[in-house]
């Protein structure tokens, strides 16, 4: 939205997954119940990280943000590696293997919950962006940073807020993801480029675009995997990413700037 490209997104998701994992192992808190803990914690971490590290280091250049978040990602990933080793860990809950029949399809319950959770978060975000003062401020900063500052918006605060909100979404994602997924220090890497692809595909700063982009990527990944085989099929995502950046940088659904 604000043209902040955060390379540490995957690493932050990894940290959140570990957070949910340890809450489950050590404190016995169910992943879904750790939502009210994880979301504010990740939000605070994101706000502080942006305010005191990313903003200080960026010197107003996009490339520097990319480099700094890359540095943060390297640190987080290797801290996780030293602390928790490279083992892949999963958790088991009473409902991990529960399935629900919808029509003729059998769907694992955790995936269904994750779907509903993602839809809920997306709805909340959309409402926040279009219905609140903060959302209006974010849109203003995205469109015209200088102008936003002139009318009295604390631009740094707004950037830090949206960075925090981004990480808070990761906290929520981690809670929904872990029952159906696994965690290891490299788990975030697979998500980073896919997330970039979806955002670019849908058009930067467009929410409905991101949702449609996500759907499209999911379909491409499955079809690519079906035709070209599991590992070669992943190439489809990156090829789409390159093609969209080259030929339609405003995204498939975005308006030409």
């Amino acid at each position: 939205m604000l043209h902040i490209i955060n390379f540490a997104h995957g690493a932050a998701l990894m940290m959140a997954l570990y957070g949910v994992f340890f809450l489950h192992q050590k404190a016995g808190i169910d992943p879904y119940l750790s939502l009210p803990l994880m979301v504010p914690a990740m939000f605070a971490a994101g706000y502080v990280l942006y305010r005191f590290v990313v903003a200080k280091a960026s010197h107003g250049k996009d490339e520097n943000i990319l480099l700094v978040t890359l540095g943060i990602a390297i640190v987080l990933e290797n801290v996780a590696l030293t602390l928790w080793k490279s083992d892949t860990r999963t958790i088991e809950t009473g409902y991990t293997f529960t399935t629900v029949a919808i029509g003729s399809a059998m769907i694992a319950l955790p995936k269904l919950v994750a779907f509903a959770g993602a839809a809920l978060v997306a709805g909340l975000l959309l409402a926040m962006i279009h219905g609140t003062d903060l959302g209006r401020a974010i849109r203003a900063c995205a469109r015209e940073r200088q102008g936003a500052r002139l009318v009295g918006i604390d631009v740094e605060h707004v950037f830090a807020m949206s960075f925090g909100i981004g990480l808070a979404c990761l906290g929520a994602a981690a809670c929904f993801l872990l029952p159906a997924y696994y965690v290891n220090p490299q788990v975030g890497n697979g998500f980073v480029l896919i997330a970039f692809t979806i955002v670019v595909l849908g058009g930067m700063g467009s929410f409905s675009g991101a949702l449609l982009g996500g759907l499209l990527i999911g379909v491409v990944e499955s079809i690519g995997g079906l035709i070209l085989g599991e590992s070669l099929g992943q190439m489809g995502i990156f090829l789409i990413f390159i093609a969209v950046l080259l030929f339609r940088p405003q995204g498939l659904f975005g308006a030409r700037a």
Binding site: I74, L81, N189
Partner: protein, 312 residues
Amino acid sequence: MRQLAAIAAFAVAVALLPAVTSSGVVLNMAIMTLYAALLGQAWNLLAGFGGQFSFGHAVFFGTGAYAAAVLQARFGWNAWAALPAALALGAAVGGFIGTLSFRYGLRGSYFALVTLAFAEVFRILANNVQFTGAGVGLMIRLEPGAARFQFADKAGYLYVILAFVVLGLLISWWLKHSRYGAWLQAVRDSEDSAAALGVNVFAVKLQAIMLSGALTAAAGVFYVQYFQYIDPSLAYGPAVSVEALLGPIIGGLGTVWGPILGATVLHLLGEATRGLVPSLPGINLIAYGVLLVLMIMYLPRGIIGLVKCSRP
């Protein structure tokens, strides 16, 4: 001229190293530092002088490495004959990526992301094509002999990598003193102003990425000859791309000596942290990440910038 004398002095000093010590550990460290410096120099050509930040230099490195490995292992080429072919391929991949991304006006972070995506595409390809040995990787037969680009002792490798690094130094020096270098730096500082002054922005950037690609491919060829093995994640994984950008950023972007300085600092730091805390294997990478963030925060012009500031 003083710079050229400094380059010559550097070359002689490093070349004398095997005469001073025969310790394999010291020589190996010198070789790996020079190798990292070469990657950094190649990246610096494009990012430091041209302002185009690539996050996927592994794409050139891997292409050079695979070109050398495939030509030797599958077609029985001599390694020295494979070297120019690998350099040409590195330049060609650079030309391909450069044509696409510069033709469509990708700048800044978008260029970085596209290079990253290209590296991933190549990694997945190398992982799935039988030609490159797929996931298993390619091994080169051990046949020591200078005529086959394999040396029985480390000194031979040191001389080869030193020659490449000196070449990199000379190219950087040339960029500082030539008309082409001036064009390239004008494009870095402001594309629009450069274009208004009649610089062919597209051609200048394209030549820079091809040059950078060829030099990175040289590092790839060296890697294959030194370790005699390559696989998709070694060749096209993000580790190489990160290694290429760390040195110049820490040493000093767009300077002749920055990449070497940065690579040296990083390797000394890596050894020191590993020596202090041997029980934690990832500790040197944590130190690199912290150093990267701190450098961008407080010394965006690198260590060389610090020296230049204190000397008016």
